[in-house]
Amino acid sequence: MVPTRELLPTAEPLSLLRKDGSPVEDSPLAMPDDDVLLELHRRMVVGRRFDTQATALTKQGRLAVYPSSRGQEACEVGSVLALREQDWLFPTYRDCVALVTRGVDPAETLTLLQGGWHLGYDPYEHRVGPQCTPLATNTLHAVGFAHAARLKGEDTAALVLVGDGATSEGDTHEALNFAGVWKAPVVFLVQNNGYAISVPMSKQNAAPSLAHKGIGYGVPSVLVDGNDAAAVYAVVKEAVEAGGPTLIEAITYRIEAHTNADDATRYRTSDEVAAWLDRDPVDRVEAYLTARGLLTPERRAAVAAEAEEFAAGVRAALNTDHEHDPMSLFEHVYATPTRHLREQAAILAEELA
């Protein structure tokens, strides 16, 4: 076992970049290559622009609801870029930025939240499980998927994203336990963004850290600075390569409210938010790359332009009204619609005629 993947996490989160962008000299983690760092930067800028665009579209009534991941880009992008092509991602409702980073079409990413259907994309296309709403349930899907890959002799890891709140659900425990017993190649990335809607960590868990759960299942555990994309990338990559299960807790913060429907002023102060804005994950990589001379003004401008273009595409897609076929309600309940559903479909068709 490599030193950073012991059963117990380190007392302090592992990191590679300080909040001012200066590198941590004695980190046990390997700094990613320059091209990876540049890619982390590019994807975070595009991801954030996507996120602010989605938030804006929600205000304009184009989305039913939007859970922003602003402030969590280091987790969303760092973890996904650490995956290999054959690996699978099992996201939640908050992980749209992870999805677009994985290559899922942004409009298809937003289908669920726009309200047209429960899911927009084909999970097999980019190897991304359905966005999961019932908390923690996706942890078990990831374990089953990864174990199946092992049984089939395939070298596939599963990365499952969950929130701090979701770690309190029984399913998280069962998943870690199955993964531990089966030695399934699953990376559990807990994005500890401080809150489960309004509930802070102090009311959620009394452990030294959430990563301290791992040892109870024989699962190696890592505590990482979740606003440090380089560090998140490094620990996820190591976990994927290790082949067995790993529990990673990334300390981060949700800058926006839980969703557009939430009023965060009821449970947290603007000072607290300001302190976290000061630890911005994008700024941090930007500062480091700029100091290293890797992020030239030209590249920065090009990335910004790409982000704008991406946002324009999202706007265009979401501002187009689509027909939603009511008859599709009956089509995929079973592989072949039952006689019973065909009867009901006929009644609806008659109504609509």
């Binding site: 039913a64 939240l113 309200g115 429960h118 009901q344």
Partner: protein
């Protein structure tokens, strides 16, 4: 008295219960500082303190399981499930313990626990936020299942539910949270149905979110010349056979309406039961107007799923008015 929203009435019921009975506790996910995602518990933690009203860790089985333990120790927990489908993780605690402990202990252990479940659709909610799960609970002996259709009933039923010595699944029609009405204090027992509108020709049986729809339908039906009696069940378990059967025997026709999928839904019990007991008074089979037998649709399509005035009128029209054989739909 001024009109209050259903959410406001529920809030008032919780506040009054907390104020009157020191053993009442309110807890769940986000019910504290936030006041619940629907604000039903707004202000309660501030007013009653965080030992009476508090946020729990995010775990529904944990919430119900600890509520059972607290009730065994003399408290009266009122817990919130954030949305219908998120009560499913608590299913074992509800079904194997909450419903059965009194019976298991020959009445020595009482579990006066209320589980508040916001249910149903019509709010543009994404998947898992609009299930109508009442049939899972009504089929479980030992549970009392009630659901208000008006702010008035929201207040009264919740007070009664909290006062009940038995566990109550309190289903809140979330799309009616913002509908307004007066809160009176007529003492109508929790287990009785109410005739919301008298009528001679047909009994329309509804509950929760569909009560308003049923009343609208009754209005519209006058234009067709049908005088519709609307029964609001209020209590799904136990079912008020007396009130409902008396109405059906009077009218000779009945339609039952709910949002949940029809197959094996609560309406099946209503139809089967009313038919068993009123067969010779019926001119036509009891018909059901329900959601289709599909998972709850996404927001853009929910209007095609939910029972509405037209569908209910259509069912009424098929109730054998001209002595011709009722049209059979399907095999």
């Amino acid at each position: 008295m001024t009109a209050v929203s259903m959410a406001g009435a529920l809030n008032r019921a919780l506040a009054d219960a907390l104020a009157e009975d020191p053993t009442v506790l309110v807890f769940g996910e986000d019910v504290g500082a936030l006041g619940g995602v629907f604000r039903v518990t707004d202000g309660l933690e501030a007013r009653f303190g965080s030992t009476r009203v508090f946020d729990t860790p995010l775990a529904e089985s944990g919430i119900v399981g600890t509520a059972i333990g607290m009730a065994m120790n003399g408290l009266r927990p009122v817990v919130e499930m954030q949305f219908d489908a998120f009560a499913y993780p608590a299913f074992e605690q509800i079904t194997s313990h909450l419903a059965k402990l009194r019976n298991r202990t020959r009445g020595r252990v009482s579990l006066p626990v209320v589980i508040r479940v916001p249910y149903g659709g019509g709010i543009g909610g994404v998947e898992h936020h609009c299930d109508s799960s009442e049939a899972y609970y009504t089929h479980t002996p030992g549970l009392t299942v009630v659901t208000p259709g008006t702010p008035d009933d929201a207040y009264r039923l919740l007070r009664d539910a909290i006062a009940s010595p038995d566990p109550v699944i309190f289903m809140e029609p979330k799309r009616r949270y913002w509908s307004k009405g007066e809160v009176t204090s007529d003492p109508i027992p929790m287990n009785r149905a109410l005739i919301r509108r008298p009528g001679k020709d047909v009994t329309l049986i509804a509950y929760g979110p569909m009560v308003a729809t049923a009343l609208e339908t009754a209005e519209a039906a006058t234009e067709e010349g049908w005088d519709v009696e609307v029964v609001d069940l209020r209590s799904l378990a136990p079912f008020d056979d007396e009130t409902v059967c008396a109405s059906v025997r009077r009218t000779g026709r009945a339609v039952v309406v709910h949002e949940a999928s029809g197959f094996g839904g609560y309406g099946a019990e209503v139809a089967a039961r009313v038919t068993e007991r009123c067969f010779h008074h019926l001119h036509a089979p009891v018909l059901r107007v329900t959601g289709w037998d599909i998972p709850y649709p996404p927001p853009k399509l929910e209007e095609h799923h939910l029972p509405n005035v037209d569908r209910i009128l259509d069912a009424i029209a098929r109730l054998q008015w001209d002595d011709e054989v009722v049209e059979v739909r399907g095999a």
